[in-house]
């Protein structure tokens, strides 16, 4: 069923789900929502499975015309979403009628907004995922960002979805100064003590070279013991690589599958969304944590999502 017509696409609006797994061994990046918490919650609000495809909207939003009555939820960055001429509540399932227009006025907080529709965006999967990887033209709408005139389809919605709002304690607050926790390694032994101290005790600024591949940061240069080059190995999400110039790059959803710069640390899973919502000019500090604490934080986050899913199902 055709659900949206794209009137204006916005600078970078793509179809994303939770990513493409199993193909990194062939050089295919994972991709998927940069802020997967926001996409998962948006899906749950409209009665979908958490991993359905939605829209990832970057800074300036698109203008979409509804082609059917449906339920949508917008989460993530506050880009001032509007339904016709009225503000559209965020982190909520909202009924929208055929012919209505969803638009976005200006970015207020955060960087990436997610729009889920009841039934999910129905688009052929490529290598098991609907996520768009623009650089290699894989997935989504012909492997590219949305364009004016595109029509998107939705899958079958669960019956009886109600309007509802997420409890405020589950809505993250996006700040222009964030602290993200990291686990040192895999190549922390490539850096001097001073290098590691500078990395963990300085403020870094997100540069204008920040996109779905990674964020280049400005701040104190991190000192290597010798060279910055390693024999290329794999790259986990959130890896912080430090090339020869000493300025760290945090690798995000569309990162290459392998790379040849030493990686000082990796951002823990639950803190990746904070970076996903950071914009050029925002500040970030890295705090060292342990595997055990990171897993505890992950369990708490997953329990929250589980609770949301459970209470949403009970409402039916």
């Amino acid at each position: 069923m055709e659900i949206f017509e794209v009137i204006q696409p916005g600078p970078l609006t793509t179809v994303q789900d939770l990513g493409r797994y199993g193909y990194q061994q062939y050089g295919v990046p994972v991709s998927g929502a940069m802020d997967n918490y926001a996409l998962r919650v948006a899906n749950l609000l409209v009665g979908n499975n958490e991993g359905e495809a939605g829209l990832e909207i970057t800074l300036l939003g698109p203008q979409l015309r509804l082609l059917e009555d449906t339920v949508v939820a917008i989460t993530g960055a506050d880009l001032s979403p509007m339904l016709n001429n009225n503000p559209l509540p965020m982190w909520a399932a909202v009924m929208v009628g055929c012919g209505a227009t969803i638009s976005f006025h200006w970015p207020k907080k955060g960087c990436r907004s997610y729009l889920a529709v009841a039934g999910g965006i129905d688009i052929p999967k490529v290598m098991g995922s609907s996520s768009t990887y623009v650089k290699s033209h894989i997935g989504g709408v012909e492997g590219r960002p949305l364009r004016a005139g595109d029509c998107l389809k939705s899958g079958k919605a669960r019956p009886g979805i109600l309007e509802r709002k997420l409890a405020p304690q589950y809505v993250p607050e996006y700040r222009d100064q964030s602290e993200v926790r990291v686990i040192l390694g895999p190549q922390d032994d490539y850096f001097t003590e001073k290098g590691i101290r500078d990395f963990l005790h300085s403020e870094y600024t997100i540069s204008t070279e920040a996109d779905r591949v990674g964020y280049r940061l400005q701040g104190p240069r991190i000192e290597h013991k010798g060279g910055a080059d390693i024999i290329s190995d794999g790259i986990p999400l959130g890896a912080v690589q430090v090339p020869g110039d000493g300025l760290p790059i945090v690798l995000m959803a569309d990162r290459q599958t392998t790379g040849g710069y030493a990686k000082i640390a990796t951002v823990i899973t639950v803190d990746v969304p904070k970076l996903a919502q950071a914009k050029p000019g925002d500040k970030v500090r890295f705090l060292q944590t342990t595997e055990e604490k990171a897993h505890q934080a992950l369990r708490e986050c997953e329990q929250t999502i589980y609770a949301l899913e459970h209470c949403i199902q009970q409402n039916h």
């Binding site: 024999i231 290329s232 369990r299 997953e302």
Partner: protein
């Protein structure tokens, strides 16, 4: 070359690396593959994805399904048992390639740089079977090992903004094939009409880690014919098993 014991390196809270050494050698690559195949065969619970590279295996796992301690123990056991396991017999894939002219605009430069004639560069480049160490950089791109240092050439000073898909190039001691149009700084010596990556095929990459590649010289006419066959889906790739030690052939 090998560490005394494999090193487990942290890759955040959902991944770690098992690193076997710090060199690029066929022996290290086989060690990585042995563990990769062992993990795939046993289907260790909680393992989401494995990424083999030159000298390490990156394991992505779900810590809510298996504890890191348990996973590390299981991988250590698998690793010890896999040490002497037999790997599947690798294959050699023929990559038909037109050398020089508009297909390989840097062939002359590579020849001059090494004090050779273009013919000699082609003879050296087609005279070796290259080991596929890993895939990465862009989908379907194979890191090949074994190129003769006699044709090694540094990258271009200024990278090209557009290199056609199928271009065969040299960068330092490495040779490789661009699976798709891309910017890049490799010295281009030829081009192949075959398709190295297709998102709708399973697996999507033609070349597989652990196998070999050999470049076979073709004419521009053959290039056009093979390209048409590839587009129509009628082209048959030439793949043969690698000869074992004691058998004829020199890989």
């Amino acid at each position: 070359m090998f560490y005394e014991r494999p090193r487990f390196l942290a890759g955040g809270d959902k991944a770690f690396f098992i690193e076997f050494g710090n060199a690029i050698t066929p022996e290290l690559s086989r060690r990585v593959r042995r563990l990769l195949l062992a993990v795939q065969n046993v289907r260790v619970p909680g393992v989401i994805e494995t990424v083999p590279t030159y000298r390490s295996l990156l394991i992505h796992y779900d810590p809510l399904e298996i504890s890191p301690t348990e996973l590390r123990d299981r991988l250590e056991t698998l690793e010890q048992n896999a040490e002497d396991s037999e790997l599947p017999r690798p294959t050699v894939t023929e990559v038909p390639t037109v050398y020089g002219n508009e297909y390989g605009p840097d062939l002359e430069f590579v020849a001059k740089h090494n004090g050779l004639s273009p013919e000699e560069v082609v003879r050296i480049h087609t005279g070796t079977a290259y080991l596929i160490y890993m895939l990465g950089f862009i989908p379907g791109f194979a890191y090949l090992g074994g190129m003769s240092s006699r044709i090694a050439t540094p990258r271009l000073g200024t990278p090209r903004s557009r290199i056609p898909g199928g271009s065969v190039g040299i960068a330092g001691n490495q040779t490789g094939i661009y699976p798709a149009e891309s910017p890049g700084g490799w010295q281009l010596i030829g081009r192949t009409p075959i398709e190295l990556f297709h998102p709708h095929k399973e697996p999507p990459a033609l070349l597989q880690t652990g196998n070999h590649v050999i470049f076979v010289r073709i004419t521009p006419q053959e290039f056009t014919r093979i390209k048409e066959e590839v587009q129509q889906g009628t082209y048959r790739m030439k793949e043969t098993p690698v000869a074992r030690k004691g058998e004829s052939g020199n890989i």
